[in-house]
């Protein structure tokens, strides 16, 4: 038996950098360093653990849709231990929204072949948290998402989803789309050996024509949503800061009373 896992990973601008919009109101990717979304490291980690705990022959492929630099995200995932990588890159992809991104990912996943897709809970830039559900819809397979615990056995995936009102135990047959949260377990650091090995691992490059997608289905033009304005939020007006010299709690109570909170 073999198990083919495809992990979707996004290359995102560093959240601790100074993130901005470009003139066309897409995310400015030039000014801020990019990296493998930290939340997708958890997805890579779970794929590697499933692989390590399985008697089957498991192959872990990492897949990204993104610009040239997105290769860095793939390298990181490969150095963590993934077996191979696919990079979908095309100039016409610039400005693609979640619906379009899910189309490209779904086509690439189908072309690659899969038994299990593992995604992160959300991208750290877009933070929509909807791509995994969209992938399940497009691929026509069960969605087993937002798991804080996951395991795969006998052609089934099971896991725990900690929802707002309840914690749920879920089960679905493969093939399936899974997403994992940052509660699923710390991601490993690439070892030196892993980093060296990653350099020799195959990275396949596909463009839109490889996936038989028309340029007008994606990009800014193919987007089903439009951003009309992006305004930097004015800095909050400087507040009052006091040093506690024994009365700090009382002073704060006074402030809260003045604001009618007490």
């Amino acid at each position: 038996m073999s198990l083919r896992i495809v992990v979707t990973v996004k290359y995102v601008p560093d959240a601790t950098g100074d993130r901005h919009f470009a003139d066309d109101l897409t995310v400015d990717r030039d000014d801020v360093d990019g990296l493998l979304s930290e939340l997708d490291e958890y997805a890579v980690e779970q794929a590697l653990q499933i692989s390590e705990n399985s008697d089957d022959d498991v192959e872990v492929t990492v897949l990204t849709v993104g610009p040239e630099d997105a290769k860095d995200a793939l390298r990181k995932a490969l150095s963590m231990g993934a077996d191979k990588a696919i990079h979908v890159e095309d100039d016409d992809l610039h400005g693609t929204d979640v619906i379009g991104t899910s189309l490209v990912l779904a086509k690439a996943i189908e072309k690659a072949g899969y038994d299990l897709v593992i995604s992160g809970m959300a991208s750290t830039d877009g933070t929509a948290g909807v791509v995994p559900a969209l992938l399940a819809e497009r691929l026509g397979v069960p969605q087993v998402t937002l798991l804080s615990e996951v395991s795969v056995e006998d052609g089934k995936v099971t896991g725990r989803r900690d929802g707002d009102a309840a914690s749920e135990q879920l089960e679905a047959a493969l093939p399936a789309v899974v997403s994992v949260t940052d509660q699923s377990g710390e991601a490993r650091y690439p070892s030196f050996k892993g980093i060296m090995a990653a350099k020799k691992k195959p990275v396949q490059a596909w463009d839109l024509s490889d996936l038989e997608i028309d340029a007008d289905e994606v990009g800014l033009g193919g987007s089903w949503t439009a951003v009309d304005a992006a305004d930097e939020r004015p800095a909050r007006t400087a507040g009052t800061i006091v040093k506690d010299e024994g009365e700090g709690g009382k002073q704060l109570a006074e402030f809260l009373a003045g604001q009618k909170f007490v």
Partner: protein, 320 residues
Amino acid sequence: MAEVLVYVDHVDGAVRKPTLELLTLARRIGEPVAVALGAGAADTAAVLAEHGAVKVLTDDAAEYADYLVVPKVDALQAAHAAVSPAAVLVPSSAEGKEIAARLALRIGSGIITDAIDLESGAEGPVVTQSVFAASYTTKSRVSQGTPVVTVKPNSAAVEAAPAAGAVEALSVTFSAQATGTKVTGRTPRESTGRPELTEAAIVVSGGRGVNGADNFAIIEALADSLGAAVGASRAAVDAGWYPHTNQVGQTGKSVSPQLYIANGISGAIQHRAGMQTSKTIVAVNKDAEAPIFDLVDYGVVGDLFDVVPQLTEEINTRKG
């Protein structure tokens, strides 16, 4: 007047506050038609009618509880077909976003998630979002299909606006995918008696500075003096001092209360992402250089073990 579908978030018939906020927003663009699913669906009608729902479409099939997400998408799609609405509004919970996204794809519509405001516009609803950890405010619209928008809690006031709220059975044919993911067990979250974190008017949070699970009693005492919900930073959650359900931030809950009090929290970007849109922000931190002080309306540089109990006592005294 155009109808607007509003997906109802409820627990056994008890409607959660964000849904009532959605009704306020829906009335800006049309007449709200609510969709309530699962056990107790029909019990939601009275309160929905009070807040402006002209109709309440209900279905209490067991599938909504027994399988994940897809049955609800099937139902919303059926409602969309029956009503041909001007827009579909869904509360921005983790599940709400997944339901909304799949619906949007099926009906060939664009989707905007995590709206904080919504107005009517010449080319359909104009949606406001707060992005990049609230450092930008964007205005967007859906350019194809029926706009599907998920809306964050505390984005609008709950307003009384009595309407008919006629209950109608929604007829749903489940898709082949509906039973794909089985819910084999469910442990309801225990109620603390405190307000829901995302819905609370006041949130009192503790971070690494609280330094231990037992010490969270100090944070809880302050919260109780104000009738507030309790939040925690990821550092406090990762240390096992407070449950993950209370985490505020990028990978926890996003809150937007009238008042947010951060205690022993440095104010990392991922924490700010979940609280920066709070109306009034207050912090207690012993490090004057902590980035949280850049956000505050009022800050106390001091030891939280001195300041917080004094504050709690003072509030309780003032309340008499």
